[in-house]
């Protein structure tokens, strides 16, 4: 029997095991929406803006490991989705985005709602396709999922002209695809692993620096086992938080621009650096000339192009992080060596001295609400077990610093692109994937307004997300830089004419809390956790003067932090 392109589309998603499709309709995808209407397997979630569809799919993907799936119309639907696609691309998130396109006969004619979606998205996707024949539709969709989820994951765009969705073809969903031009290397070279292990075992001051790759490849358990056996300190990037339990003694905190003093000093003074699924981003390395001056560097990564891109590496290992770490554990067990923490007692003594500086201290007796305190209290009230999404700014850094993530896939933020407006839509995707879990979105009054319309989506689907608005009345991160580096000329970083967030939340049928006293923080959070049928908007009026510390200023090395 022959199916229409639109029916083939829905069947493909079903056969691919897609649970949720985040999208927004329009002319070019009406055949597809009609086919979606007539089936029950794939649940379509209607957002209020295409950017939110991509972030929601992204949040779903980050919290589950499964690809997020998006459907938008041609033209403005596709361009609205671009920010979310670029966000996923920078953080290597598996995602498949379907964009409608004008009929093939009109492509190139400046037709109504035509844009070159393949051209516009090319620099921010892992790959993209334009489907030109209905007979290619199923195999193209299969390839899209295959590419998005294997190797270094990333978003894939499939552009489908409207006429293709009306034409008919025989349906068969391929079980497997192979592509001669795409064969990611999964298995690390055992010889390289052996060399690396020898270097690690000979180190006096080793440290593991791990990134989002560990989480993407579900390698937390192997990482934790390895760190325990070696006995070395471990630091996570912003993207890597939760890969190693933050409450464990061997964890020295996040590194980089707003990382801990002990993490950055340990990095600077280490003699062997083991980088795992991390990419030496400029926010992590500080001044590259001053980076880890006495270290030999081992780098494990699935993407060869990440290796020796910013920092020259001594032992590169190309392979899936999980695979390589398992091989390393196996080889380590074979050597019978189990160095443990005591083998590095001088190193640990030094690290404990750095830790004793207590770089995360802040004024706990303030009469104003301190944003750090809100995050710490959230941690306490949720027993450290919430899914936390965030937007971008100071609140993002405080969330990363003060919520101790013990599990992977709990901390969901836009690290690479730094997209304000990510938090709430991402939280929607997380909540769909984990309906019984607490999902909190830590945000600021600037960021939340970038996708505030999604309060309506929360209402439609009864998503009980806790919106933790650290409302300092300013674009805090911008203000902080202006204070530090522009002599306090606060150009455009003051947010005038804020809405009454409580009333706004209520107008969407949610619950709103206004909290302006430190003593009310805990009570409000506890109250919010009891509400299960709608969202809660907690508007915390926080100290506008507060800055994110510690900090590495631009051009400085990791050992040149500004402490409070």
């Amino acid at each position: 029997m022959e199916l229409t392109g639109a029916e083939i589309f829905t069947r493909c998603l079903k056969d691919e095991g897609v649970e949720y499709l985040f999208g927004y309709p329009g002319g070019a995808v009406l055949h597809i929406y009609d086919a979606l209407y007539q089936q029950k397997d794939v649940k379509h979630i209607l957002v209020r803006h295409e950017q939110a569809a991509t972030h929601a799919a992204d949040g779903y993907a980050r919290s589950t490991g499964k690809p997020g799936v998006v459907l938008v119309t041609s033209g403005p639907g596709a361009t609205n989705a671009v920010t979310g696609i670029a966000t996923a691309y920078m953080d290597s998130i598996p995602m498949v985005v379907f964009t409608g396109q004008v009929p093939t006969s009109l492509i190139g004619n400046d037709a109504f709602q035509e844009v070159d979606s393949v051209g516009i998205t090319r620099p921010c996707v892992k790959h993209n396709f334009l489907v030109k024949d209905v007979n290619d539709l199923a195999v193209t969709i299969k390839k899209a999922f295959y590419i998005a989820t294997t190797g270094r994951p990333g978003p894939v765009v499939v552009d489908i002209p409207k006429d293709i969705t009306a034409q008919k073809a025989k349906y068969a969903y391929p079980k497997k695809v192979t592509m001669r031009s795409y064969n990611p290397v999964i298995k690390g070279h055992p010889g390289q692993v052996k060399r690396a292990l020898k270097m690690i075992l000979g180190a006096k001051r080793p440290i593991m620096y791990t990134g989002g790759g560990v989480i993407l490849d579900n390698a937390s358990k192997s990482l934790t086992d390895l760190v325990k056996m070696i006995g070395c300190p471990v630091t996570n990037t912003l993207m890597g938080l939760g890969a190693y339990p933050a409450t464990d003694k061997q964890f020295v905190g996040m590194l980089g621009m707003h990382g801990t003093y002990e993490a950055n000093m340990s990095m600077h003074h280490c003699d062997v650096l083991i980088a795992i699924g991390a990419r030496f981003d400029d926010r992590v390395t500080g001044n590259i000339e001053k980076f880890c001056p006495s270290a030999k560097i081992i780098h494990i990564d699935i993407d060869p192009a990440s290796i020796s891109k910013n920092v020259k590496v001594d032992i590169p290992i190309v392979g899936g992080v999980s695979n390589v770490l398992k091989e390393m554990l196996k080889q380590l067990k074979e050597t019978g060596e189990k160095p443990g923490k005591k083998s590095q007692s001088d190193w640990w003594k030094q690290i404990e001295e750095w830790r004793a500086m207590d770089c995360m201290k802040y004024d706990r007796d303030s009469v104003k609400i301190k944003p750090q305190n809100v995050v710490e209290t959230l941690y306490k009230v949720t027993k450290g077990d919430a899914f936390v999404t965030s937007d971008v700014g100071q609140h993002q850094m405080w969330a990363a610093q003060y919520y101790k993530f013990d599990k992977p896939r709990r901390w969901i933020n836009s690290g690479g692109l730094g997209t304000m407006g990510f938090g709430m839509p991402a939280a929607m995707g997380v909540q769909f994937a984990h309906p019984d879990k607490t999902v909190a979105c830590i945000t600021g009054e600037g960021s939340i307004q970038m996708n505030i319309q999604e309060l309506s989506t929360l209402k439609q689907y009864g998503l009980p997300i806790k919106i933790i608005n650290l409302n300092n009345g300013v674009l805090g991160m911008v203000r902080q830089w202006q204070e530090f580096f522009y002599e306090g000329r606060y150009a455009m970083s003051y947010m005038e004419s804020l809405p009454d967030f409580v009333k706004l939340a209520e107008s969407y049928g949610h619950v709103g809390f206004h909290i302006d006293k430190p003593e009310d923080v805990e009570g409000a959070l506890k109250e919010a956790m009891k509400i299960k049928d709608r969202a809660v908007f907690l508007n915390f009026i926080t100290d506008a003067e507060e800055n994110v510390y510690p900090m590495i200023p631009a051009g400085a090395g990791l050992n040149e932090m500004i402490l409070i």
Partner: protein, 164 residues
């Protein structure tokens, strides 16, 4: 250093723009780019001339390999190879002197005069990039009306071949 990178890629619409886009997005320079299908019509062969430090060339080859459409690539400059570029040059030959000079130079450089009008000669030359430059220089005072170059192509010397 100058590198000649040969790329075998899927002969798909948009494959060329992925390569061009990669170079502009990452700020790598392209000196020349030549592309056409191979004997296997599903494959295109692209020859790209670029220059940069060893680190940049390493990144370029890695980033190219990362493109999903790229099947295989080889940096010709790593070993013995043969390089060719075709050039068509139209020159003003109104003066008898110039006519004779151009004819003489074309012979020396093993070029062919492929079109003649009352006032012009068009010469075809297939040589290495360097030799083509030398020819243009040798024209001296002869007035050049138009230069068309195909971009460099290259092949590995000896019995090794770049195939799928």
């Amino acid at each position: 250093m100058r590198h000649i990178i040969s790329i075998l890629m899927e002969n798909e619409a948009g494959a060329l723009s992925r390569v061009a886009g990669l170079f502009s997005a990452r700020g790598y320079n392209i000196e020349s780019l030549a592309v056409a299908p191979t004997d296997d019509p599903s494959l295109s062969r692209m020859t790209l001339v670029t220059s940069g430090t060893d680190e940049i060339i390493e990144q370029i080859t890695k980033q190219l390999n990362k493109l999903v459409d790229v099947v295989k690539l080889f940096d010709m400059t790593e070993g013995e190879h043969i390089e060719r570029e075709m050039m068509l040059v139209k020159v003003n030959t109104q003066s008898k002197n110039d006519r004779e000079e151009v004819k003489r130079l074309a012979d020396i450089f093993r070029g062919r005069i492929i079109d003649v009008t009352k006032d012009t000669y068009t010469i075809e030359l297939t040589e290495s990039c360097e030799r083509l430059n030398a020819f243009l220089e040798s024209l001296g005072n002869v007035s050049i009306l138009e230069v068309v170059r195909s971009g460099v192509i290259g092949i590995i010397q000896g019995d090794k071949a770049l195939t799928v």
